[in-house]
């Protein structure tokens, strides 16, 4: 679970404060990793991209002008760009292929086996059936718990558009989940 950030952390990050950096890494390395796995990355890819996210985040921290409550959106936005750049370099890595690779990776360790089981579960399959935008907003909203305004900052779209996508995504997901298993 996320740990709350101490007040004034944005300023201290811009100063290069080591404790602030450790606090941000401690708070967000789990959610970023989880986001990348849910978005179709394999375990090893998610680890690599998570580290790359923090590299890029601190590299561009001097240009961050937001407050403490905007750091989470900035981190997730960085992760989104890192993932997009990664898939641009590897254009054949579609979501379905990632799922297969994830299952292969799952054979390497108990954690990866559990993740493989998670990915084969109904909800992950249902999420994978969604469109790219719908998948994005569903993961950010229901897995990472971002607000609509934060999702708008991460995805670079107006809040009204986010709400529209979210509504449509929820309908699609409910439909997929109801096809696979009954919901109570």
């Amino acid at each position: 679970m996320e740990h709350p950030l101490t007040p004034g952390i944005a300023h201290r990050l811009r100063q290069g404060d080591p404790e602030a950096i450790e606090s941000v890494v401690d708070t967000f390395h789990g959610p970023i990793y989880r986001y990348l796995v849910c978005r179709g990355s394999t375990v090893s890819q998610a680890e690599e991209l998570t580290a790359e996210t923090f590299f890029q985040f601190l590299k561009s921290i001097a240009s961050f002008r937001g407050d403490d409550d905007q750091i989470r959106a900035f981190v997730f936005s960085t992760a989104r760009h890192v993932r997009a750049n990664s898939y641009r370099r590897r254009p054949n890595d579609a979501c379905s292929i990632d799922a297969e690779i994830a299952i292969e990776d799952a054979l390497n360790s108990p954690v990866e086996q559990l993740l493989a089981q998670e990915r084969s579960s109904a909800v992950t399959k249902a999420i994978e059936q969604l469109s790219e935008v719908a998948r994005e907003v569903i993961v950010l909203r229901f897995v990472e718990g971002l607000s609509v305004s934060e999702i708008a900052k991460v995805c670079g779209m107006p809040t009204g558009t986010v709400k529209s996508h979210l509504h449509r995504a929820k309908q699609e997901l409910k439909h997929e989940l109801s096809d696979s298993e009954p919901l109570t």
């Binding site: 996320e2 680890e47 990472e144």
Partner: protein, 152 residues
Amino acid sequence: MNQDNMHSDDDAPIRDACRNLREMEIPSQLKSKCLTAAQNGLASAGLTQSLPLEATSSQVSKLPVAIAASLLVGVGLGWILRGNAQPSVREDLAQIKPKSVFMTPRPTTNATSIVEYQERSSEESFFTKETYLCGVGRIQSKSKYQISREQQ
């Protein structure tokens, strides 16, 4: 986790379905990996606070060290060349042939004849030996007046 506007009845099934994903286990070595990457990112952005001061002080301290090293090298070379030059200086080149200058007849108190004077002829020489170091100039100068007697 930000819970604003999330707790609606319609969203409950989706929220419950995503619970396992929210509780996904994170690899244990991931945090240290991310911390290292974060520090590398900060370093690449040049936000390491002590870096400018170290660069300035190192540049300032290098100058006298460089000057001292140059002087030591120059003095050392001078000593080496002085030592090497001693055997190679051709003293005979600087010698003034005694006969051409000093062989003006000088009355000697003990000479009774020309033959005796000739027997007691002396060779007098005067020479100056100077050592020059390229790029530095004259580093040593020695003058010598030598009288040697030949006994027949």
